[in-house]
């Protein structure tokens, strides 16, 4: 047993309103710079849709993540022996066109334009070349375009659906969509780390945050291809790769990252997970059908004395152990089985889990008038009638397996019905209770889930142990050496080349 701690995350998709506040918070803090202008470490995409960069889930093309070959876990991108062959030109690297060319407008033309008959306009100019560009794509141009031929139809997950189901998702009367906010998953078995030939990417032992040492990165760009979630970005100006750093200066002081803090829908949870690093490889070798279970088995019970002992041996502090016991993430993932990692078949074992979105409350219209629903059946359509095919969610969150997704959805639906019974009273309590039981839940758990989902305060959502000062890096190095370095280690303007 080799227990490590990880700051882990849950995004509750039922609550995401697709407002992109998270993306903007991140952009303003970290990526509003030349070369990073096209990067969205946090982005929100509409599903079904192609996402950002377009079709990032298409690993036939991008070769991200791990695969099992000859009984061994191997990067899909390249084997160790052959990696140098691809160094001069990386065949599966997405280019700027797969993201979008960043642009701004020449606002000064509005003021400086010559006197003329027509109003002056601010033309769009590329942030790369400074020249006029005809904008063809943006980071979230799929926004709300569920059902669209350009985005929804080209969603990679649709291949798991029957032709009929696909048609249903694409026609205006029956289409459906939900939002998928994405950041780096700070995986337990990160493909980006394993692919970096320079060894510049590393996972922090204390909290599992995955970072790129900018002084060691040499721009070999393997990480960009290897990350199946496309959450490593190449800075085209500095010639270095960059990625989400989970706002580690905030996390170290017990604060939630900017995207978490600003989340309007309050969909984001952060807490500690303990996991057994010794089990990672064996878990990665499991067939697709067993991956969700294998991933959950990696996560260790913070109340188990053997786990605590091993964690202490690794230097995990009491404060971290304490907050692991109160972790909202542990409850969603392990205790309740509600949260699922995205695309477990990539075998990176993400530390970010999603509670899948339930369908909206239904009601029918007649002559333009909304009818009052008369039964819970009508308010909460049964799972079988959900507009979003289960196979779609299974492709996204279950490595193709419907069972774990169905389990989570069923439980959430049962809780909805249960709360309807206790709060509004138009459902028979006995029926609601039977529903709970059938969904592997009981009133006590239902209440806890309800509270953490709907009534959660800041302190409930973010249980983040501040890092111990005596463990912090400053104590281990000469403070004068770091003076004036603003915590970033070096104070050099990130400029291209020498």
């Amino acid at each position: 047993m080799d227990i490590r701690s990880q700051v882990a995350m849950v995004f509750h998709l039922d609550k995401c309103i697709g407002c992109h506040t998270c993306s903007i918070a991140c952009k303003n803090v970290w990526t509003d710079r030349k070369g990073a202008d096209y990067m969205w470490w946090n982005n929100v995409e509409t599903k079904p849709g192609t996402g950002y960069p377009t079709q990032w889930e298409n690993q036939e093309e991008y070769k991200g993540g791990w695969m099992v070959k000859d009984g061994k876990l191997q990067l899909r991108l390249t084997s160790k022996g052959k990696f140098l062959q691809k160094i001069f030109h990386q065949p599966s690297l997405p280019t700027m066109d797969e993201y979008y060319e960043p642009w701004t407008y020449r606002y000064e033309d509005l003021f400086n334009g010559p006197e003329q008959d027509d109003q002056p306009t601010a033309i769009p100019v590329s942030k790369v070349t400074g020249q006029y560009i005809d904008i063809e794509a943006g980071p979230n141009w799929d926004d709300d375009l569920g059902g669209s031929p350009l985005y929804a139809r080209n969603d990679v997950n649709l291949s798991a659906l029957s032709e009929e189901q696909r048609l249903q998702l694409l026609s205006i009367e029956t289409l459906v969509m939900f939002y998928l906010p994405r950041i780096c998953n700070h995986c337990a078995n990160p493909a980006c780390v394993a692919a970096c030939p320079s060894g510049a990417i590393y996972k922090r032992g204390e909290d599992g945050i995955v970072l790129i040492n900018q002084n060691v990165c040499r721009g070999w760009r393997y990480c960009v291809s290897a990350c199946p979630y496309k959450k490593v970005f190449y800075n085209w100006s500095t010639g270095k790769s960059e990625k989400c750093l989970l706002c580690y200066p905030r996390v170290e002081t017990g604060q939630a990252p900017a995207c978490f803090h600003s989340c309007v829908g309050r969909i984001r949870y952060m807490g500690v997970l303990l996991y057994d690093a010794d089990k990672i490889e064996a878990a990665g070798l499991k067939p697709d059908a067993e991956l969700v279970t294998a991933h959950r088995d990696l996560l260790a019970d913070p109340n188990d004395p053997a786990v605590i002992e091993s964690a202490r041996k690794n230097g995990v502090t009491e404060q971290v152990l304490q907050s692991a016991r109160k972790s909202p993430v542990y409850r969603f993932v392990k205790d309740w089985g509600l949260a699922l990692a995205p695309h477990p078949e990539y075998r990176t074992f993400p530390s970010l889990f999603y509670v899948p979105a339930l369908g909206p409350v239904t009601y029918s219209m007649e002559n333009g008038v909304a009818l009052n629903p008369t039964s819970t059946e009508e308010i909460f359509a049964p799972l079988e009638q959900a507009r979003l095919p289960m196979s779609y969610l299974a492709s996204l969150f279950g490595a193709g397996q419907e069972a774990p997704v169905r389990y989570a959805m069923k439980k959430m639906l049962a809780i909805r019905t249960w709360k309807r019974a206790t709060e509004v009273g138009d459902v028979d309590l006995k029926v609601a209770l039977a529903g709970l039981r059938e969904a592997d839940c009981d009133p006590e758990q239902a209440e806890a889930i309800y509270r953490l989902t709907s009534l959660c305060s800041f302190e409930d959502r973010f249980v983040i142990p501040a890092s111990h000062r005596e463990q912090a890096v400053e104590v281990l190095t000469n403070p004068l050496e770091r003076k004036g370095a603003a915590g970033f280690g070096f104070r050099e303007a990130p400029q291209r080349g020498f």
Binding site: V128, K203, G219, V473, R496
Partner: protein, 224 residues
């Protein structure tokens, strides 16, 4: 005097600067060490340019190094004409690959609107010098046969004499000017090395072969 300056002074200046500046740059400005890849901005013509250039130049470079370290082996191999032709032909075709590659890289640098943005004056100088280096090498190889022979008898001993700090420029005095210019631009490449993107050659990540897949760093325990 001129010979001494060009074939003794200049090589030493280039070599010393290459070593000293590379080390200084690595310790003081590690951030600046990068391949400065521009594939993100343009990938299709880079495929041809970069692949042909690197495969070509790396073989040619290895050939030069081999002849430098083991000149006798080359001479022994060349004892049979057929083997000599084979060696020369291989070298020449690799050099042609590199030539096509570097031309493709130069064209790309000047035509792609995005790549132009990340092209520095030193990038242009470097590509121009490399173009001259490869082109003059091919010219010499065709006109002054057989290079693999006289490299081993004249050039290698001269280069060794530089390394042993007992320079003997007279060894290459009888060689034609075209050949000498090829040497000079070779030293120029060495001089440019620490100041340009060429430093990427110094940090080729061969340690990857021995590394464990995951890298975990603890503040107190360090790398594990």
């Amino acid at each position: 005097m001129l010979t001494n300056f060009l074939f003794v002074g200049f090589p030493y200046v280039a070599l010393v600067l290459a070593i000293v500046v590379s080390i200084l740059r690595f310790t003081w400005r590690p951030f600046s060490y990068s391949s400065l890849s521009s594939q993100f901005l343009e990938t299709e013509s880079l495929f041809w340019g970069s692949s042909l250039w690197h495969w070509g130049i790396l073989w040619v470079l290895s050939g030069h190094l081999f002849a430098f370290f083991l000149p006798e082996a080359i001479l022994a191999w060349n004892a049979r004409p057929l083997r000599l032709y084979l060696l020369e032909l291989t070298g020449l075709s690799m050099a042609l690959l590199a030539l096509v590659g570097v031309v493709a890289l130069i064209v790309r640098r000047f035509t792609d609107r995005r790549v132009k943005v990340v092209t520095s004056p030193l990038d242009v100088v470097l590509l121009a010098v490399l173009l001259y280096q490869v082109a003059s090498g091919i010219d010499v190889a065709i006109r002054y046969r057989w290079g693999s022979a006289w490299f081993s008898t004249n050039a290698a001993p001269y280069l060794w004499s530089l390394l042993k700090l007992a320079p003997r420029p007279e060894l290459i005095a009888p060689l034609p000017w075209m050949v000498k210019l090829h040497f000079l631009s070779g030293f120029l490449v060495i001089l440019l090395l620490p100041f340009t993107r060429l430093v990427h050659f110094l940090v080729v990540p061969i340690f990857y072969y021995w590394r464990r897949p995951q890298v975990v760093i603890w503040n107190r325990k360090g790398l594990r």
